[in-house]
């Protein structure tokens, strides 16, 4: 699944980023990763916008190149953006939220 961007037809000089999806997001999307073409200087928030509501209703945290990052972070070509739904590692059955 790959979506280009159509901002004024300037899809040629942009950045390509890989988006990693996990758990319920991976199941929703039917893919564990997608590639996005974004305009130069695109931010994490722009990448989320391109995913067309995939993450609606989930309190997401993002990571860029395996470090937690906020939505204002500017993406560079080749960056790996990960959408991280609420985590539940460890042992207990029910994690209080």
């Amino acid at each position: 699944m790959s979506r280009g961007i159509s901002s004024a037809g300037r899809s040629i000089c942009g950045v390509e980023v890989t988006v990693r999806l996990f758990a319920m997001l991976r199941e929703r999307a039917g893919a564990s990763e997608v590639t996005l073409q974004l305009p130069e200087r695109a931010r994490v928030a722009d990448a989320l916008g391109e995913l067309h509501g995939l993450a609606d209703g989930l309190p997401l945290v993002m990571a860029v190149n395996r470090e937690y990052a906020d939505e204002e972070r500017v993406l560079d070509p080749g960056d790996e953006l990960a959408l991280i739904p609420p985590v539940s590692g460890g042992c207990s059955r029910a994690v209080p939220t």
Partner: protein
């Protein structure tokens, strides 16, 4: 005291106060061994070893999924910070992914320290932070039913 024992005592005294030993961290699909993990934190300066196992309870099995590369980096950073903050001698953490049947461990933590106070505190901090910050998810599987466990937002 024999020469051999004197040598051993001298070598312990000669250990530097702070040795920057990188914690052992692994995310694996294999069953976890507490014995192997405990062996990884053996240290001649340590008078206390604390271990923790988180095990599947109340359901047939849990299915764990991880962003493995980032989870290993996050857990390594958490363990290194615990080591530093609590003056631990060594720390080791392993998390299993894939199916973890009832009563088997999904996560194991072992730490060693000169005394039990810092060993308990260090192990407690490491497991609490791993659960809250590592990008790992679990799904309960019971009969034909599956559901993702509601988690916490990292950080």
């Amino acid at each position: 005291m024999s020469d051999g024992r004197r040598d051993a005592a001298a070598s312990v005294r000669d250990l530097p106060d702070e040795v920057a030993v990188a914690p052992w961290v692994r995310v694996t699909a294999q069953p976890l061994s507490l014995d192997e993990l405990t062996a990884r934190v053996r240290d001649p300066r340590a008078g206390a070893v604390v271990t923790f196992q988180g095990v599947t309870r109340a359901v047939e099995r849990l299915h764990y999924e991880a962003y493995a590369e980032m989870a290993e980096e996050r857990v390594a950073a958490i363990a290194a910070e615990g080591l530093e903050r609590h003056g631990l001698c060594a720390a080791a953490v392993e998390h299993r992914v894939g199916e973890v049947p009832l009563s088997e461990p999904s996560v194991v933590v072992a730490v060693s320290a000169p005394h039990r106070g810092e060993a308990f505190a260090g192990a407690r901090e490491i497991i609490d932070r791993v659960k809250a910050e590592a990008p790992i998810w679990k799904k309960e599987v019971e009969g034909g039913d599956e559901r993702w466990v509601k988690g916490t937002r990292p950080r």
